[in-house]
């Protein structure tokens, strides 16, 4: 049995968020923090942190902390160093102490709130993260990274109203508009809150029955919950509104494969490719279709094309291995199975 992982900010987005916030922090009112008691140690530790020598900084600060366990600057720098090491638990411990004693008008206070908000977020402490992220949002209302993190938190706590408002600000939409409901629904689906997404989409379509992508998302979810006929119906509705939307044809083709209607699947998958030849998904599904029809030559062709543009796709390699297996090409099958395993293992390691 399994539980789904909490969807975190990807590491790269976090790095962007940090640098963006650091830049934003520069513009905060510059009320100096209270002068440190042991300024030499603090200054040296700060230099070490700035130079990326985090372990050295932590070692030095830990010694200082033993002599001065309530020194705010020491606590702050320890928290900062641990944060940069991605040890969010320890970052929270130290910064939680420091933030209570740092003047709220200082730049350091804002950094501390930022560290607490993002650390709690990365730890999956959603409810603890929200007040800090909300505060950051008030200070920097234009920050899309903060808005994104906050919207995810609202979604995780099932507060769809607040997530919609936050996303609407991020995307410059009227929060009561059909588009705002659609964007909120998309994010809900990404976070696996399909049941809540359905409600948002239904409201979106009430506001605008010809809203592109709404029927598509509803169709995807219907298929996911095994109501394939309904899913096909919704995808066809989407295509009627949005005839150049390649993804709709892709999902339609995939839906037909769920019904084992291999011949019916070919047309939509081909159209998906003609509309967008640079997405590997329809090639992979077509490869599977040809495999099931025992047309091994075309199956291999499609899968190779998919893997040329998407070489890290383990599912594609797994299917290609099956093609070779059916064709009696045992060595090639083993090679593809092994490669699929390696790629899958590296995917599992990703946060």
């Amino acid at each position: 049995m399994t539980s789904t992982s909490f969807r975190r900010l990807p590491a790269i987005a976090l790095a962007v968020a940090l640098s963006a916030l650091a830049a934003l922090g520069q513009s905060a009112p510059r009320t100096p923090a209270k002068p440190p008691d042991d300024s030499a140690i603090v200054a040296q530790a700060q230099s070490l942190i700035d130079a990326g020598k985090l372990d050295s900084a932590i070692e030095m600060l830990s010694v200082a902390s033993r002599f001065k366990p309530n020194d705010v600057q020491v606590k702050y720098l320890l928290g900062l160093a641990y944060y940069r090491k991605a040890d969010y638990q320890r970052a929270v411990e130290h910064i939680s102490f420091a933030v209570r004693q740092t003047p709220e008008t200082s730049r350091q206070y804002r950094e501390e709130v930022q560290i607490l908000g993002l650390s709690h977020y990365m730890l999956g402490h959603i409810r603890e993260a929200i007040p800090y992220l909300e505060q950051l949002g008030r200070w920097w209302p234009g920050s899309t990274e903060i808005a994104y993190a906050l919207s995810i938190c609202y979604i995780q706590t099932r507060d769809t109203g607040k997530s919609r408002e936050t996303l609407a600000r991020m995307f410059n939409l009227n929060p009561a508009s059909a588009a705002a409901y659609l964007v909120n629904a998309q994010m809900l689906v990404r976070q696996r809150f399909e049941e809540l997404a359905v409600k948002e989409l239904q409201r979106a379509l009430e506001l605008d029955p010809r809203l592109p992508q709404a029927n598509f998302l509803l169709g995807e979810m219907a298929i996911y919950h095994a109501d394939v006929e309904r899913g096909i119906e919704l995808l066809q509705k989407e295509i009627a509104i949005n005839p150049a939307f390649g993804m709709a044809y892709y999902r339609l083709g995939e839906a037909y494969t769920r019904q084992l209607k291999w011949n019916e699947a070919v047309g939509p998958l081909q159209k998906s490719i003609w509309l967008n030849p640079f997405f590997s998904g329809p090639y992979i599904v077509l490869g599977k279709v040809f495999l099931k029809k025992n047309d091994l030559a075309n199956a291999e062709n499609m899968l190779r094309r998919a893997l040329q543009m998407d070489p890290g796709n383990f599912s594609g390699h797994h299917l290609l291995a099956q093609v070779f297996q059916q064709a009696g090409r045992a060595d090639e099958a083993k090679r593809e199975f092994d490669l699929a395993e390696k790629l899958r293992a590296s995917t599992d390691k990703e946060p």
Partner: protein, 573 residues
């Protein structure tokens, strides 16, 4: 949290297909003449199986539940029952803890609890049971896995058991979480060896609380953490020395070298028909494992290339329960594996070319909201085509407060084999015993009342079990289809005949089964192999391939009887 109180009728609508059945489906559903009645209470099975918190599960140790067994411990020809149990985090006063329970079949539809007398009282987080006569004295022994110390119980032959774990060399070092197990004669020396799976490394003292980590949420609801994020463990193989002791050969055999798996139910099957028993392990959230017997004392994991590690797209699933059977009547043994919610069960069809093909959708299975556990191929209507039953139940009782679409308690699902490679959900037509909502885990299949149809024993979390009596044949009423049960005893092969394959031919129809020590979820089925014979009056040919390698053929066996077959001897009634 108050329980949902729903009538069985509404439960049927909530749990089952999103579409009302169409006319053709209704016709096919009506043609499944099987009704299951829960007779647990009148049979005397009234004690709940305690397993962790009731409305909330803090840790994963409370969620997996345990198995059950039909097994004839006193060799009187009537299947007795073994119900494993767990405990609670807060523990119990000395002497008051819940225990595994052994029930002797009184042969009149009732059972008597004989746990204390049998010496099987034990408190702990039990997982699975596997059965086999490891000392070849003619009485079936038990191995029960635990989070903690696994236990080998030797059947003394006088209705008592003795814990011989230490003496047998099976005492564990440290705390491991034993999951599936199976007795298996992997080296064909006539003695049953022992395979033990381990789920993961679990440190209760340092386990994270619900919501305190990335793997501790489910759709935003704080839930018990894992298994992802918790360290995996490896499996064990013990070779039977023939003197009551075992030797750990996990490393030398290669079994212990398979890593990064959350191993659950273990079963045996000779998937490549080379006469040497292989071992299949359903694994949770990781690739499942197929240990191919290399015939030299070693095993190689070939699940990926054999097509039974993942689904057809190469994605890992949450494998819990497993059944082995010949669903399409081609004499090749297929595998059916159960999974987590929003996934579909896996039906791996044996191609006969050393690999399986994913036939799940082709057979009519689809995504379901239920978490699925115990399962079995069993011919409930005796038409010669094995059907399927699945026990369901959520692992997150907290979730249904927020998402009523994911109820904590679910039905048993029954699928009728239509004979064309497809199955039809007939759950609504098989009686209230099947539909009453439970959070189930292990289930076992067997004929406890010896009336020629297959019954089911189901473990329910923190509730009494269900004993689902199949009323296809009940009292004086007999269904039109006939049956045959075979009870095998090895002589050159291991006495329990684990690994023996039987192929029955009736005209152009063929059915195959193997004797197994464990299957379903952590459970053990009645060792008598049950075959539905349709309207035939005899089996034209019964072929037995014994684990020793010897093959015997018997012809023209009349139906509607239990046939005892001893290796090397003529069949006797």
């Amino acid at each position: 949290m108050s329980r949902l109180i729903i009538s069985a009728f509404i439960v049927g609508l909530v749990f089952l297909s999103p579409h009302p059945p169409d006319a053709q489906q209704q016709k096919e559903t009506k043609d499944f003449p099987v009704s299951f009645v829960d007779v647990a209470e009148r049979a005397g099975l009234t004690e709940p199986v305690v397993y962790g918190g009731v409305e909330k599960k803090r840790f994963i140790i409370e969620t997996n539940g345990c198995g059950v067994a039909f097994f004839d411990y006193d060799r009187d020809g009537w299947a007795d029952l073994l119900l494993l149990t767990g405990t609670r985090l807060e523990g119990f006063p000395q002497g008051k803890g819940p225990t595994n329970r052994l029930y002797r079949n009184d042969r009149d539809g009732t059972f008597t609890e004989v746990t204390e007398k049998a010496g099987l009282r034990r408190v702990g987080w039990a997982s699975s049971v596997c059965v086999g006569d490891y000392d070849s004295d003619g009485f079936e022994d038990l191995f029960i896995t635990y989070w903690g110390q696994n236990v080998l119980y030797r059947n003394n032959g006088n209705a008592t058991f003795t814990d011989v774990t230490e003496k047998a060399g099976l005492a564990a070092r440290g705390t491991r979480w034993g999951s599936g197990c199976t007795f298996v004669d992997y080296d064909r020396d006539g003695k049953l060896d022992l395979f033990v799976a381990n789920y993961l490394k679990f440190d209760l003292a340092n386990a994270p609380e619900p919501g305190k980590g990335a793997n501790c949420f489910w759709k935003g609801v704080p839930v018990n953490c894992g298994p992802k994020g918790l360290p995996t463990d490896t499996n064990l193989l013990y070779r039977n020395n023939g003197d009551g002791t075992f030797r750990d050969v996990s490393e030398s055999s290669g079994v212990g070298r398979v890593q990064n798996r959350y191993s659950m139910t273990a079963t045996t099957t000779d998937f490549n028909n080379d006469g040497w028993t292989d071992i299949y392990v359903a694994c949770d959230s990781t690739a499942s494992t197929l240990y191919r017997n290399n015939r030299d004392g070693t095993f190689t994991d070939v699940a990926v290339e054999a097509g039974c590690a993942y689904n057809e797209d190469g994605n890992a699933q949450a494998g819990m329960g497993v059944a082995v059977g010949d669903y399409n009547g081609d004499a090749l043994l297929d595998i059916f594996k159960t999974h987590f919610s929003d996934d579909l069960p896996a039906l791996y069809r044996n191609s006969g070319r050393n690999f399986f093909e994913d036939a799940s959708r082709a057979a009519g299975f689809e995504h379901t909201r239920h978490v699925e556990w115990g399962t079995g191929f069993a011919d409930f209507d005796n038409d010669g085509r094995p059907d399927i039953m699945i026990a369901t139940g959520s692992v997150y009782p907290e979730v249904e407060k927020v998402f009523k679409e994911y109820p904590h308690r679910g039905p048993r699902l029954v699928y009728q084999n239509l004979g064309n490679g497809r199955f039809q959900d007939v759950s609504t037509a098989t009686g209230p015993g099947v539909l009453s909502p439970k959070s189930s885990r292990g289930c076992a299949f067997g004929d406890f009342d010896n009336d020629g149809d297959v019954d089911a024993l189901v473990m329910n979390m923190n509730e009494p079990p269900q004993l689902l009596r199949n009323d296809y044949n009940e009292g004086r009423r007999r269904g039109p289809n006939n049956w045959l049960q075979l009870q095998l005893t090895g002589t050159k092969s291991n006495r329990t005949a684990i690994g023996a394959r039987v192929i029955i031919r009736v005209g152009s129809n063929v059915q195959a089964q193997e004797v197994a020590s464990q299957s379903s979820y952590y459970s053990h089925n009645d060792l008598r192999l049950h075959f539905g014979m349709g309207t035939s009056r005899k089996a034209d040919q019964i072929e037995i391939r014994w684990p020793s390698g010897q093959t015997e053929t018997i012809k023209d066996i009349p139906v509607n009887q239990i046939v005892k077959i001893k290796e090397g001897a003529v069949a006797v009634k």
